[in-house]
Symmetry: C2
Subunit: 557 residues, 2 copies
Amino acid sequence: MSLNLTQKHQNIIDTAVKALHERTFFSHYPENPTPEIYGETADKDGREKYKNYLNNNFNELLQENPVKWVGQEESPYEQQPLGIKYPYFEVDTLVSRAEEAYHQWRKVKPSYRAAILVESLERLRNRFFDIAYATMHTTGQAYMMSFQASGPHAADRALEAIASGYEEQTRFPEATEWEKPMGKYNLKLSKTWKAVPKGVALVIGCSTFPTWNTVPGMYASLVTGNPVIIKPHPKAVLPIAIVVAEVQKVLAENGLNPNICQLAVDAEDHLITKELAEHPSIKLIDYTGGTEFGNYVESLKGKTVFTEKTGVNSIIIDSVDDLDKVVQNLAFSVSLYSGQMCTAPQNFFIPEGGIKVGGETVPYQEVVQKLADAVSGLVNNPKAAPHILGAIQNPATLERVKEASSVKGKPVLTTCDFTNPMFANARTCTPVIYEVDATEKESYSRELFGPVMLIIKTKDTNQSVELAKEMAMNYGAISCGAYTTDPVVKEHIMDEMSLAGTPVSFNLTGGIYVNQNASFSDFHVTGGNPAGNASFTNPEFVIKRFTWVGFREPVVG
Amino acid sequence: MSLNLTQKHQNIIDTAVKALHERTFFSHYPENPTPEIYGETADKDGREKYKNYLNNNFNELLQENPVKWVGQEESPYEQQPLGIKYPYFEVDTLVSRAEEAYHQWRKVKPSYRAAILVESLERLRNRFFDIAYATMHTTGQAYMMSFQASGPHAADRALEAIASGYEEQTRFPEATEWEKPMGKYNLKLSKTWKAVPKGVALVIGCSTFPTWNTVPGMYASLVTGNPVIIKPHPKAVLPIAIVVAEVQKVLAENGLNPNICQLAVDAEDHLITKELAEHPSIKLIDYTGGTEFGNYVESLKGKTVFTEKTGVNSIIIDSVDDLDKVVQNLAFSVSLYSGQMCTAPQNFFIPEGGIKVGGETVPYQEVVQKLADAVSGLVNNPKAAPHILGAIQNPATLERVKEASSVKGKPVLTTCDFTNPMFANARTCTPVIYEVDATEKESYSRELFGPVMLIIKTKDTNQSVELAKEMAMNYGAISCGAYTTDPVVKEHIMDEMSLAGTPVSFNLTGGIYVNQNASFSDFHVTGGNPAGNASFTNPEFVIKRFTWVGFREPVVG
């Protein structure tokens, strides 16, 4: 890497470290896919590149001698296989290549590692549109979310991890002289410290956010000197394969072993995740996905594990200024990507006595109706709905929505049929709504991943808070939305939900939603409840990836 | 707490935070027990206070309504019971009191918590001599170590934990305004963050360093807002009981619940550690002690656990400038507190072809003889030996020294008899030495806690390093001493031992020893091998005790 590049990268890193601590708005990668920013032909080029991948071998990786070529992706918009094949390797091959790369990568200085990784993100900027189409046709996200979440937002989250890892590794001096007065003389020791990386890292991706949820762990492990093996969900490989390819190119250009960052795909007939995770040489594991597998990963001995599993997210409605604005905001939150975000709300707690709107009480049933009307209005808006809902990634999600009718409650909206005007064959589903009584705990104390909205009738706001807290503590929660105009109630909600390790967004209306989560400002998942044991990106997320080891020797003379 | 006190304390905290990052020599509490520093009558007063505790109830604690009074301490110097009784409480009482205290303590601001804790250390300064005698007659440490380790060194380690916890909790802003440009308008959110303490903490102490090994976890949990229950080893209660009493007094004087910090003792017929550790309300556990129980503590589900267990510490001898100085230094290291320090060396790796001394080769057998002579010389020095060796804390340690004769090797020094001139009935033992061949791995691949020195004859230094690394990786290591004049060998040792998470002291001679470990500079235990999963005090040691939780709300207007 040329030195002028390194200075440019150091500036990016320094700015990012500063942003980490200010936690005001900061973004290095623009989120708007406009021609002014990304170039006149960027969108068209990206779409073409995506099309060229279809029914071909993905040959951008620098991983040699695959056993075979495999692939099982399908577009939720077309419900057709993509036909893309990726190189398949045995687990032992992947691990031994990573171990070899470890002894090169760990000796690269943290600042240089950070610069190389920033360079990979700068390259990725030119791949945001390819990645956007790859994300659409693997996850079912709508175009805008595909671009933003998998491109600039993911790159910002990766930069956040680089900045945090760089900061933690440079927090203590590399060397110092320790001089202790002993009365008649001074004892002098020359001391040095090393941040020693833990070893081979595994990152297990999910099917809905294949880059956004993968790059934080991936870049956190890399910047702290650990080689990584990226094991994407078999249905969402292409977006992260492009990322891995760019990292490998930058590594190779700088004389480094591209196996510092490897892609590992499942064979059609053979899932390799458990074999990888249980391999004694795997020291670090990042995981995003379902709770059951996440608990298994957390239970593995001798590994440092970072998880984002699932949760039951709550909305607490106590009192509002403008109910119409509130229900529009909430309808958007449950409809966005058809409820397939880990931050999407599910349980809406509303007191049976209704809520205060301005000075007036609006009865419970009217609030429910307004919520339902807002959802109906949104999904029946042909201009907006397809761009908000996207498609359903997994057929199992559709099944789950059907099963939601078995909750002990009252159906409010039950049809989820929707036709996407651009993709007639898309797998789609709009939010369904059921009313449940607070006593029917079994019905709402689990995650119903997908567009399912449960309205839970409570005795009062105190009970709403109590139940939201209980759900978060027992089943996990990644987000919570609360509406109250009463400062005492607000303080109570903050205090109770803080004990459940759950961040709270208060009184959101307009263009900001409970699902959204800004890098360099919002910690994503807290680690403080069963929804996950890690957080993007708090200091713990990086410092557990290396060990401080000190050396000392008397100063001669 | 008066405001001028707070400013004084804030200055101490700020200075300590700075020292954490400089890692040069820093000490807030003077280690020399001289009248100039601590007062003319301090030593005499301390001894009298200690004597007054004997055969009495320890009534300084502010914990009400004990079930009974219990105690089982014995002086290793007298081999007689101390007769001190402590208040005994049921586990449920301790935990429910801690839970109640939690909701008060967690709401105290981190800076105020830190100031209160610093005040407790300032008070403790006046108890250093009481604690010294208490430590002597529970642990068997000699007077000077008792004073330094349990008094000023422990207080400095506690201050280190306070400083680190304070820094981590104030690293992000309490509140900020987040403003995102949206083209035609700006989205504005007011954001706040809380460092939410995890809950009730348990600190399990050991019998040899009852304050030094207990206060880091204790103060780390307290400064991050968690109430603590201190469960000392039943044979070493008094030193830490004095510390807990001082903390409780400061809490009470400041209008806080003294149960924020409780002492929990075992009944004579009923050990309560497991019951405490397994209690679902216990969220944090710090543990120092044997590996078997440590592994049990680490295996408990739903707890954040910090351990310092045992290790097999190595000395690697390759080449030296002055062999006499080296063997004197090493003889002191194995004799200090009769090898009962977790940092004491056990396995001495010496190549069969001998070592380089200056330009000459000194044969293996001569090096062994010099080591043995140095140990004999030291233990036969009536002026020095009693003050270095101290007494043996646990009769089981004596048994272990006897059993050491079963190693497959050659006895070099086998008698451990020693008479302390001041304490005729003291339980004592001087270092024994056995020679073992490198092939007899079983003999040296376990910790023989106590004054046991194994000399392992290796093919060459490469094998010495390989074995020292293997021992550290498989059985843990807390320290490593290496002697080499060759920079290539030195680099090799640093690299290999860093991979085993083991700090290395090179070429120590004169008044500094591999066993010693300075707060604010040396990380104690790295967490990177089986000797323990935590480190005094790296950032990980404090940040795992709380969760960052964020709150946000649109800015109105």
